[in-house]
Symmetry: C2
Subunit: 462 residues, 2 copies
Amino acid sequence: MPVKVFLNEDEMPRQWYNLAADLPTPLNPPLGPDGNPVTPDQLAPVFPMNLIEQEVSTERWIDIPEGILELLVRWRPTPLHRAVYLEKALGTPAKIYYKNESVSPAGSHKPNTAVAQAWYNKEFGIKKLVTETGAGQWGSALSFATSLLGLECKVFMVRISFDQKPGRKLMMQTWGGTCVASPSNETQAGRDILARNPDTPGSLGIAISEAIEEAVSDQSNTTRYSLGSVLNLVMLHQTIIGLESKKQLKKFGEDRVDVVIGCAGGGSNFAGLAFPFVHDKINGAEIDIIPVEPFSCPTMTKAPFVYDHGDTAKMTPLLPMYSLGHDFVPPPIHAGGLRYHGMAPLVSQAILEGLLTPKAIHQLECYKAAVLFAKTEGIIVAPETSHAIAAVIREAEKAGEEGKEKVILFNMSGHGLMDLNGYDRYFHGELHDYELPAEEIQRAEDALKDLPKPNMAKTGKW
Amino acid sequence: MPVKVFLNEDEMPRQWYNLAADLPTPLNPPLGPDGNPVTPDQLAPVFPMNLIEQEVSTERWIDIPEGILELLVRWRPTPLHRAVYLEKALGTPAKIYYKNESVSPAGSHKPNTAVAQAWYNKEFGIKKLVTETGAGQWGSALSFATSLLGLECKVFMVRISFDQKPGRKLMMQTWGGTCVASPSNETQAGRDILARNPDTPGSLGIAISEAIEEAVSDQSNTTRYSLGSVLNLVMLHQTIIGLESKKQLKKFGEDRVDVVIGCAGGGSNFAGLAFPFVHDKINGAEIDIIPVEPFSCPTMTKAPFVYDHGDTAKMTPLLPMYSLGHDFVPPPIHAGGLRYHGMAPLVSQAILEGLLTPKAIHQLECYKAAVLFAKTEGIIVAPETSHAIAAVIREAEKAGEEGKEKVILFNMSGHGLMDLNGYDRYFHGELHDYELPAEEIQRAEDALKDLPKPNMAKTGKW
């Protein structure tokens, strides 16, 4: 029996799947500063027009351009593994499969959209991309992608990660990217925050503000901003993960899947694996689809569904999403990629529709799960990914209690080789669980109460 | 045209190739303290008998046990890539292929022999393995392997790497291995050296002495020593790399290869790729087979072929090999895996026979090559691997001058994500080239002159 299945390059999906085409209730539109839906022209200084068109598309299947396929085959299709050793350690009747996105040169799923965004920008005549990064996964993925295409790249990295994770910064540098700590003195947004709080550790919201400011202030109009999560187009580009997984599950002889799991910060690795299965669910399949977040940043499980900005300085349009508030600063857990105040509008809408069942898990349970995974399957995963594994273990144990041979699929979204510090602190008993106090949630709701309200209509079908 | 080729698990080689069966002149035997060939019984406290038998085997093809195949398929077969983007950047008529050993959970080729050695030890009833590690690739690979098989693992890590590369130590820890800085106070060999030189940065030779001492002093007789290079059996286990590559080259449509390249410290990743092609060369194929070493530790290109110890404290038998002397401490270059005073006897003998054409390259040329590789092929390689890439670039340029469409194959033996510090120093202009003075070579020859001399007979055929 094989423990993993490859696909040949010619078996790689040729189209992305767009959930926006199938959502029972259409997405609320992003709103501009005037409270009206944002027009493509308003977004033009930030994104190239070809990506803006993709962001609002409701076509179900979107062709992957040949030029992007040529970039993706450098590391795709990625393997699908069966976790036979984890199954054995758990003594579960469940069959556990995982998609291994850690084999990309940047070590995670992030290059799937990085190469696509860099390619579309280059097609549009753009010379330079600016972005932000938290733990560094996204910044290194975009530096990798721009390097392959000969674009310039600048990354604003949240200061605390910049200081604690020199490895990620060096990856960006090796691929030719420029990485600066955020808040920086290079933007008005950064200078304002430093003036108020010179010792701030920074946040993703602040870094986004700086990156957008730098992108839109380029006088030559050949610089744009790039975002590694949240946007519809990012979810779209990541669906290649789930589409490959479906073909590979067939090769394993599986004709159904019962549970699909991914960790969710902004939502992209989860959506990438899950959305093709959400499509099946909408069409009648019985599947539990579970995005997993940390208890310390419980966007999906505790926050309100609202209109909110994606960044601290309120430079982005208002997006319809679950949000803890654009000025929320989550407690310092090691899964930096899960410390975002909002959630992708497509994921948020699918939750509202009842298509997804979000779960929150504490970080100690996640590290325990990750160590078991390392000792059984042999792979050291990223702290973000450990949240998916903890949920998988719970589901496998549940399958045992129910005596069911369930098929569980999860996204092994990245390796943890640049994040070993968290494991070290875990082994030394220095990590703790954080639960956000109810007052914090209330504070978030209060802070957002004067903003427009999204339409919360749902079909109530799931 | 595909840029990489996988194999299915059922296409994985079922046998290792043993060059000892085909060498025109047989290997000189290892010698014991009395100057006579070492007997299996003398080695029994150090290695399990099943591995001792494998070490001296002259069978050409050796079956890979089913239990080891089951461990290898966790990440094998590894992909073979065509470096189309590097070719384009070089404007070469050559076709460049590379075997990607970086996709293993430990990030290098080392797990190929780690899982095999751990499996044979477990079969023999051993409960614990002890080893040494330089840069940390081997120590993490053995920790990974013992974790999968439920054995204990202890690693003596050269102090300077222990301090500079906390990531590798944390990988070992995550897999359940124990890692201590060498020299340590835990062995007589370590205490002796610390007494003489409390601030020593350590060396691979010292760490080997400590590991052997700890292994042989276990009163319960269930601990053995494990070595990640140099030994015949290690070369044997690594030949799966070259055997897979042959099948994959055929799938790429290649019916010949002109140049085979690998970096060589102790020799194992080079031998793993190259020996199956040395077999073809012995049988008439025209192939340039090139092991590459740093100019600062020029074992193959400048050192004498002698009998010498594998470690500083002279605990190992005398091995017939090119050696700079067992007390040689190489200058501090970043490719820690290439800082070994000797060279595997099988590789040494093949050089003596004229089957291989070793080359030495300076570290700045290697880093330049690695950065070009990162920006074209997208993968950040280990500092060791950069030596192979520098040699590939030279060969590709030569093919251009000659106007020949040569087929070049090299071993991409590991990623550099745990070794980014070297890249950082390279970018900051802090690295220098070292060339070993002729007096040092003379000193090595003088120091070894009272030891027995190996038989230097050769067929002179190549």
